[in-house]
Amino acid sequence: DEGKQGGILRIYHRDSPGNASIHEGATYSLNVPFMPVFNNLVIYKQDVAQNSMDTIVPELAESWAWVNDNKTLTFKLRQGVKWHDGKPFTSADVKCTFDMLMGKSQQKFRQNPRKAWYNEVNDVTTNGDFEVSFNLKRPQPSLLALLASGYTPVYPCHVSPAEMRTHPIGTGPFKFVEFKANESIKLTRNPDYWRKGRPYLDGIEFTIIPNRSTAILAFVAGKFDMTFPTEVSIPLLKDVKSQDPTAVCVVEPNNVSTNIIVNSTAAPFDNADIRRAMALALDRKAFINIMFEGQGDIGGTMEPAPAGLWAMPKEMLESIPGYGPDVKANREEAKKLMQKAGYGPDKHLAVKVSTRNIPVYRDPAVILIDQLKSIYIDGELDVVETANWFPKIARKDYMLGLNLTGNAVDDPDQSFYENYSCGSERNYTNYCNKEIEKLFDAQSQETDVNKRKKLVWEIDKKLQEDVARPIIFHARTGTCWKPYVKGVTVMSNSSYNGYRYEDVWMDK
């Protein structure tokens, strides 16, 4: 049915983002409130929950084409689009944006977390005001997926990165009004939006409420039309449902895996047996039962099906040591490995499990420690403040780390290169296997989806067998809104891409 015009959508926000510049952030605390300000070249279709190549649609680009042996990706741009400050949008803006992302321009981002996404891009060229081309070193079909992420808006050339951090200018359906740190973020309808009749809403108001229970109470009390997306935990979801039965809630995976980073450069985990024993000891089902009351997924690196596109089939998964359903048998085997390494009932191995001092990290760590008890490992929790977490990991100042890895797009390129390739900054464990690296490149260039899938499965399985970064589970989270809020779709295989909100309207 046709949406109604008007109304200000009130959403609470979980946490004050550091700034307003999507390119300089790496958290959906930033994506959610600021995605509505921008447009991409292409975007995942906002009303389809599962992101895939097939759901990518043009946005600032009117069309795209792979040319030059799949080594050039060319976009025809939309004409007559205006930035919020009235300046016209042209191909120069696109070039500026990507040059900056690749570190090639004069002006620099303070931080540029996704620079590696463009490792295979040679340069970006323009052809007139309304055509741009991405020239690649080798074919990389995934590039389009990366460009369709909520993380890849087009920035205006004429606004400095510093300004973008405090007062972003976009072409999107909503204009930025104000951002009061720790207080609120306000957007208002862009009356000159290129897409006629959109957006429906007059504006969006985010009130920052870090305290979860206060936030949920406020939502229940009708102070908000919608919760912060994907931020409602399973227990809270029950609470919402019991207090406000009319609320519409969805629970979806969000392509964030909870995993263990193992420091294999130092004792005791330089011993492969102990690494393997640890992987065998995991009772993944128990984690999911405790953390999500059963509503979570077991899988490898790639998000499990059906939401995930690249997951191994069940049989393949269960053939990996530790994934088998018989936890007891796995643990018996683990004990044997431990005994081989010189530990036993009388001689326990003491380890420190480091993790960040926030519940989503700490809670699984507590369970992990409890499970390790069963194989003669006495774990001690070492909670680390956010500020110190990555420096600590980088220093290799840990034995085991409990870590969360979020994937911006459900695509093997993004997750493999980032987390498992030799020398990648985010490969915390320094896992380095040249053979697998070759497979990474092979799948990346593969244009046949089915062939690519096979490759990806093989890689994923190998990674798990190597105990490179044991994946414990993939989380699911909830989002709720009042019944009169229409047109919200929560993405099921990424939590960064679905917040344009131009189609959202309120039936009030």
Binding site: G18, N19, A26, T27, P113, I208, P391
Partner: protein, 315 residues
């Protein structure tokens, strides 16, 4: 009087200077800095970017240089820019002060208007059931974790009225403005009132033992006149001190309340700034708070003199 004020001001400056040093160096002891945190979300740190940013923010310089730079700016009225929001620190701090001040003021008002009369009653009725009941209530005020109390209030009000007293940044009417602050102020004020009541009670008990109270009774004065006219006037002095200390304490004590009730005041802002290692905000904000506290103490001393002729007339 003039010499006194000068001396007093000098001591206040010494204290503030000390605070500036303490907070500056304490913050640098805390591991991690803004750069680490900014990069944390990305999941990695690019050393070159990090070095650039540190240079840009000036946190690569020796500590002493940084300190001098900050304090020099502070004295000139240049408070620097927030590392996080990149807005002028003053612009971030100033609008939040009245919010906390209003909250604290209302809480103190609540505390005084409830705590003092109940304290008097409790003292006058010492040893009776009423006294016991009041003491238990007051002590329970001091025993409840404030975030717990706040949460219970919120939960109860949603459960009972389907309404929640959440902060309203743009109250339209005077009444709305009051409502915005009333509930959280009552939640904090409960604790303060408990404290005020205790002090009033013990101070009253002390005063009621004094000879001049007996004199008043010997004149034939009624109980009410003795308790409120003769005794309370004397007993109020330590209460003023405690309210003064409480005013200072509240700024810290409000952190939790501001968090629970989601009030964008200075207290919560300070915690956030500490979390982000936003030095310009933390340092300047702490200095602002310290100035307030120091002046609150000064005011208390002055009030003391106003209320106590023994001090007033020895000047």
């Amino acid at each position: 009087m003039f010499a006194y004020l000068v001396r007093r001001l000098f001591l206040m400056l010494v204290t503030l200077f000390g605070i500036s040093i303490v907070i500056f160096f304490l913050l640098r002891i805390v591991p991690g800095n803004i750069v680490d945190i900014l990069f944390a979300a990305a999941g990695y740190v690019d050393p070159a970017d990090k070095a650039n940013l540190e240079k840009e923010l000036g946190i690569d310089q020796p500590l002493v240089v940084q300190y001098v730079h900050w304090i020099g700016g502070f004295l000139r009225g240049d408070f620097g820019y927030s590392y996080v929001s990149e807005k002028p620190a003053l612009q971030e701090i100033l609008p939040r002060i009245p919010i906390t001040a209003r909250l604290a003021g209302l809480a103190l008002l609540f505390s005084a208007s409830i705590g003092i009369p109940l304290g008097v009653i409790s003292a006058v009725k010492q040893g009776t059931k009423l006294d016991y009941a009041l003491r238990v209530v007051s002590l329970s005020g001091l025993s409840l974790p404030s975030f717990w109390l706040g949460l219970l209030i919120l939960t109860a009000s949603v459960a009972m009225f389907g309404q929640m007293p959440i902060f309203n940044p743009n109250p339209q009417t005077w009444l709305e403005a009051f409502a915005t602050y009333a509930v959280p102020a009552a939640a904090v004020g409960f604790r303060s009132a408990a404290l005020t009541m205790r002090i009033t009670r013990s101070s009253m008990l002390e005063v009621l033992r004094q000879d001049y109270i007996r004199t008043a009774r010997a004149k034939g004065a009624s109980d009410a006149a003795v308790n409120y006219h003769h005794a309370l006037k004397n007993a109020i002095l330590p209460v003023i001190t405690v309210i003064g200390i409480e005013a200072a304490f509240l700024i810290g004590g409000l952190i939790v309340t501001e968090t629970v009730f989601n009030i964008p005041g200075v207290a919560r802002f300070l915690v956030e700034a500490i979390r982000w290692r936003d030095y310009p905000i933390v340092q300047n904000l702490v200095m602002f708070i310290a100035v307030v506290v120091v002046f609150a103490n000064f005011t208390v001393d002055m009030l003391y003199a106003v209320f106590d002729p023994r001090i007033r007339f020895t000047e």
